[in-house]
């Protein structure tokens, strides 16, 4: 040990100066771009949104204008997707229906994620009685079979004589009442595991107030999971809305939704000879939900690479 200089020259570590790229969401975006399937999903989804929300302005046909003379026309240059039993242009109705289905999907998501998220965070953070109550309610709600519960709510709400165009808000409420327990349970388990992480123990050691612990420390770590769960739940909500509307319990005519458009398949002739009436809305749902799932999956990998594929 003889020739070791005792006081080493204190070397200045290499300076890596890449400030901008360091922002978290910049990183997420860079990882997201690499997931081709998710990007494709995202592009298709924007196309569907444009098709539904902006499409109708370009369509020559008025929305509600019925003229029975040219009813049941097969797809032609005038009506790309033919006309229905009231002579309305199916393509335009498909666009309008898209608006409703997408809005219901998003609305139901926002409601169920906010109810489920808030209750989940409170249950996970405060534990004790809060946790017991929330979880007990969630358990009871989850023991009941989903669909029957939807039928019951639809029947109860039908009595409120809600005008057709407001029916979709009812459907949103119904879907969120079914959706929130699952989300609450998921968020709660996430918060419980976060709470054990050392950086949360550090906030206890620092004596920070609850408000700051929740908002500055817990929430930013729950947000990524919320975003992914929210995205994926939109798909689920759209599917459920279409089931309800198909059975005449969700959005009811004359308001169009992809679900109740497929209802046209109930008459035997339309079912066999006029597939252009009920197949396009079904395909629209299918494509939209696939894109949402691809987007959600891509988001999950981009936001938190080591999050288990729930």
């Amino acid at each position: 040990m003889e020739n070791i200089p005792q006081i080493p020259r204190q070397m200045e570590p290499k300076v890596e100066v890449e400030g901008s790229k360091s922002s978290l969401w910049g990183q997420v975006w860079r990882r997201f771009i690499k997931r081709k399937m998710a990007v494709v999903g995202f592009l298709f989804l924007t196309m569907i949104f444009v098709f539904s929300f902006i499409g109708p302005f370009f369509s020559p046909y008025t929305t509600m204008g019925t003229n029975p003379i040219n009813a049941h026309q097969p797809p032609s240059s005038a009506h790309w997707l033919g006309t229905d039993h009231l002579g309305r242009d199916v393509l335009t109705r498909l666009m309008l229906a898209g608006r409703i289905s997408l809005t219901v999907g998003l609305g139901a998501m926002v409601l169920s994620v906010s109810i489920g998220g808030i209750l989940g965070i409170l249950a996970g953070y405060y534990r004790g009685i809060v946790d017991q109550i929330v979880m007990r309610i969630a358990d009871v709600l989850m023991t009941l079979p989903g669909l029957p519960l939807l039928f019951i709510m639809a029947a109860i709400m039908s009595e409120w004589r809600v005008p057709a165009e407001h029916r979709m808000y009812i459907v949103m409420i119904m879907l969120s009442l079914i959706g929130w327990p699952g989300l609450a349970r998921l968020i709660r388990s996430q918060v419980l595991s976060l709470r054990e992480r050392e950086f949360m123990l550090a906030t206890d050691a620092l004596g920070l107030r609850d408000r700051r612990k929740l908002l500055n420390h817990l929430l930013p770590n729950v947000v990524p999971i919320l975003i992914v769960t929210a995205t994926l739940s939109v798909g689920g909500a759209i599917l459920s809305e279409s089931v309800l509307s198909y059975f005449g319990l969700g959005v009811v005519p004359p308001t169009a939704s992809w679900g109740n458009m497929i209802n046209a398949a109930n008459s035997l002739i339309d079912f066999t000879n006029r597939p252009w009436l009920w197949i396009p809305p079904g395909v629209a749902i299918f494509v939209t939900v696939i894109c949402i799932n691809l987007l959600g999956d891509g988001l999950r990998d981009a936001i938190d690479p080591n999050m288990k594929g729930r």
């Binding site: 399937m37 007990r136 358990d139 009871v140 709600l141 989850m142 023991t143 009941l144 079979p145 669909l147 029957p148 519960l149 039928f151 019951i152 709510m153 029947a155 109860i156 039908s158 009595e159 798909g235 599917l239 279409s242 089931v243 198909y246 059975f247 679900g259 497929i262 398949a265 079912f271 066999t272 597939p275 009920w278 197949i279 079904g282 749902i285 299918f286 494509v287 939900v289 696939i290 949402i292 799932n293 691809l294 999956d297 288990k308 594929g309």
Partner: protein
Amino acid sequence: MGRYILKRLAYLIPTLIGASILIFFLYSLVPGNFIDGDPNLTAERKAELYALYGFDQPTIVRYFIWMGNLLTGDLGFSLQFQRPVTEVLNNYIWSSFIVAFASLFLTWAIAVVVGVISATKQYSLYDAVITILVFAAMATPSFFLGLIVIKYFAVDLGWFPAGGMTTTGADYTGWEHVKDVLEHMILPVLVLTMLGIGGLTRYFRTNMLEVVKQDFVRTARAKGLKERVVIYKHALRNALLPAITLFSFELPALFSGAIITEQIFNWPGIGAIYMQAFTVRDYTLLMGFTMFIAVLTVISNLIADILYGLADPRVRVK
């Protein structure tokens, strides 16, 4: 062990009571009533029937009567069928059961094989195709899939009957009858399987990918075992372990009937009966059935824990 199960059973009681309260009061809020629905009943006749079935009692009292009967196993009397609910259930549940059981078996068999293989062949073309199919299966609206299947396989190609359980009019017996039912089952089972296969395949694939990364799989390879043994003995056994709880959650689905698919294929299962009962507001049948499913769900949760405990030595052996 017994003590634990008793504790868990006691733990379930409040959930079940909560469910029963929720079910009873939700149904009581539903507008309309079986008796009012029948146009050719005179006013007094209706009043008589109200008294007979106790509808004139306040809701709370009716709840306790219903609960009382429930505890003795009597689910009440179906107005529509004029028979005890249990009898109606027993009559229709089994036709739902055979379809649900067949599709459950198919879904799980395919999902395990496909999921595990696509996990071992990650980033291969096979895996990519499977992932897309999984996404597709998870994005299909159930009733639409039914319609499409009927349109092409039954109507256009005419390979299979479009609906119902037996060919109308032909009263086959014995083996002929079974063959006839089987033929009618094909399309509904196909639809139910396609609906369930997506999520389950992804579940097994993710589980397998998780396990293959573990240290003990590397140890198995270091022992010089064949890759096949490493994957299908060491990794698979650990990947399937959590699936046991998932399998027990399928229990209620076996009996609750697939309301939508049965409706589309007008398959005379309990699901279709539920829908029908709903339209005529036969509350006793509706409540009886919903409570039955709630009880099944709660029991299946318990079975899931116990099965997992038996399967996983880390829980079974202290």
